[in-house]
């Protein structure tokens, strides 16, 4: 609950203040209909990822060679692919990969990018210069191409794909966090903390970083969306998940050659991506509105 609190010595009354702040936040957040829809869709996504074996009517690699390339019907609500595998089951199983890639890649990005950016912004001077010049270089490579370059270097596979997507997002988080740290560093409560003799590390982790959480949470939510899109792109061009493991981008790549006669094969995995990204963007935008009153009514 310390997420939205101004830092200060722990004491009486803090919990109470936190509660009302959280209630404020929740009130603004849930007033947004888009946010409610987004949360609902994400809940469905997570449930389907966790309980995939219970929800999917077939195994993701279960082939039925007597029922290949069937249009959606009652037995196969999304149809079947060229091996007679049930597309609905594969879309459900693929949500596992997407949820995982999204969360893990953002964690990698926020952890390393955040540390770099926070250190650069907080210590300033030479450290800032060095970090920021490196970030400039990385930002000069278009993000998806950077991910492609890393993934090509690491080779295909789930773990490498997550790593590639995560690493390619580091410079963006570093830049955002540096900006927030710079604006907070100059505020009076930091000076006050310094005056009572807090160490740099304590100021950074106890006072500066907790106050940067709002932009990180917003960016992280939107970053999950980017991570899922990038993962789909990497799988689409053959660098990510390898068949037969289902992944939405990989399924699109597989359905591509059948687009003229069996368009449903490309339709459903793509829709799954769009709906997921939409939900994440809705939630991200609503979080931004709720956490940053300055941006409301834009």
């Amino acid at each position: 609950m310390s997420l939205f609190s101004t830092p200060g010595p722990a004491g009486v009354g803090e919990d109470c203040a936190d509660d009302s702040r959280l209630r404020d936040f929740a009130a603004v957040f849930f007033r947004n209909r888009m946010a409610k829809a987004g949360i609902f869709i994400l809940a469905v996504l997570i449930v389907s990822a966790v309980f995939a074996p219970l929800i999917a009517p077939y195994e993701y690699d279960e082939q039925d060679l007597l029922a290949t390339l069937e249009w959606p019907s009652r037995e196969h609500i999304f149809g079947t692919d060229e091996f007679g595998r049930d597309i609905f089951s594969r879309v459900v199983y693929a949500s596992r990969i997407s949820v995982m890639v999204g969360i893990v890649s953002v964690t990698i990005g926020i952890f390393f990018g955040g540390l770099l950016g926070a250190a650069a912004g907080f210590y300033g001077g030479a450290a800032d210069d060095v970090v920021m010049r490196c970030i400039d270089v990385l930002l000069a490579i278009p993000a998806i191409l950077f991910a492609i370059a890393i993934a090509a270097s690491l080779g295909p596979g789930l773990f490498n794909m997550v790593l590639a997507v995560g690493i390619s997002s580091i410079p963006y988080y570093a830049r955002i966090l540096r900006g927030s740290v710079l604006s907070i560093r100059e505020q009076e409560f930091i000076e006050a903390s310094r005056a009572v003799g807090s160490s740099n590390i304590r100021i950074l982790f106890r006072h500066v970083i907790p106050n940067c959480l709002a932009p990180i949470i917003v960016q992280g939510t939107l970053g999950v969306a980017d991570g899922i899109l990038y993962a789909a792109a990497l799988s689409f061009i053959g660098l990510g998940i390898q068949p037969p493991t289902p992944e939405w981008g990989g399924m699109l790549s597989g359905g591509r050659s059948f687009i003229r006669d069996y368009s449903y094969m490309t339709l459903f995995p793509g829709l799954a991506i769009v709906i997921t990204i939409l939900a994440l963007n809705f939630v991200g935008d609503a979080l931004r509105d709720a956490l940053d009153p300055k941006l409301r009514d834009r």
């Binding site: 278009p142 998806i144 270097s153 061009i237 660098l239």
Partner: protein, 311 residues
């Protein structure tokens, strides 16, 4: 600032190539190679030299000879391969950025003027959906609708104006949504300023207020975002080309990935990063033309120290 960034990018790409598992000499020679021939080729390619020597040679070759080595599979020069494909990718990215600016800015302005109207809400919702679509999927959908069902546009190629429409729309759409949103929010901020009210009070025509007073002052963030979208468009072009069978860098890189021909992939990334850096430089110069304050800043700095414009 451009040169150090380019050297830095080359360094990143070199490190990625260096870390790629597998011995390049062995890959080039194939499975029938003897240890002796592999050893000889390693020596010839300088693969046994220290990291820093190899990087120095790579830098020299890239910047002074335009040489990125040979591909593993066809043994042709990577630079030649890229040079034959890159113009197509640049063309696709360029026209996409033109398209997204030409549509995105006006739509964003109208959306800002009519804030919270039905039109504005519809535009915002469409923009939301557009940003959520993977470019390659959008490309597939466009082919399905406009070439398979309606037969209006060809589904492949990039030579005639008609064949350029679908790929450009696919690459431009997600970025267009970003530009619309940025234009809208930037305009909204400017429209609330006092000098806009002053302009209205003195009876200035609304069209002049919006275009001459508001848009000019809202332009810096819009230019910034369009510059960034060029990078997105390059990436989008790489992903979309294979969908439309365009013989560009994306096709080359996807083929390179399939054949494990990594110098080709990394070379492609290097070239796009270079192109993107040059565009960023132009964007920085463009700031000075749009905003006299930034121009003054450049002049005060005497052209020696680059003072970063606020972004």
């Amino acid at each position: 600032m451009l040169i150090p960034v380019l050297v830095g990018v080359a360094f990143v790409i070199f490190v990625l190539l260096y870390l790629t598992p597998g011995d390049p000499a062995r890959i080039i020679l194939g499975t029938q190679s003897t240890p002796e021939t592999v050893k000889a080729l390693r020596a010839e390619m300088g693969l046994d030299d220290p990291f820093i020597v190899q990087f120095g040679r790579y830098l020299f070759n890239v910047f002074f000879r335009g040489d990125l080595g040979r591909t593993y599979v066809t043994k042709t020069l990577v630079t030649d391969e890229i040079m034959s494909a890159f113009p197509q990718t640049l063309k696709l990215a360029f026209w996409s950025v033109l398209l997204l600016s030409a549509v995105g800015i006006p739509v964003g302005i109208v959306s800002a003027i009519k804030q919270y109207s039905l039109l504005d809400n519809a535009v915002m919702l469409l923009a939301m959906i557009a940003t959520a679509m993977p470019v390659f999927w959008l490309g597939l959908l466009l082919i399905l609708l406009f070439s398979v069902h309606l037969g209006w546009f060809p589904s492949s190629g990039f030579d005639t104006p008609m064949s350029m429409v679908l790929p450009c729309v696919a690459v431009a759409t997600p970025s267009m949504a970003v530009v619309v949103r940025m234009t809208r929010s930037s305009m909204l901020e400017v429209i609330r300023q006092d000098y806009i009210r002053t302009a209205r009070a003195k009876g200035q025509k609304e069209s002049v207020i919006i275009l001459r007073h508001a848009l000019i002052n809202a332009l810096i963030p819009i230019i910034t975002i369009i510059g960034l979208q060029f990078g997105v468009a390059l990436g989008g072009a790489v992903l979309t080309e294979s969908v439309f069978s365009i013989h560009g860098l994306g096709r080359l890189m996807v083929d390179g990935i399939k054949m494990r021909d990594y110098p080709l992939v990394q070379g492609g990334v290097l070239y796009t990063a270079f192109a993107f850096s040059v565009v960023n430089l132009f964007v920085d110069i463009l700031y000075a033309y749009v905003d006299p304050r930034i121009k003054a800043q450049y002049q005060r700095a005497g052209g020696t120290k680059r003072t970063a414009p606020s972004r």
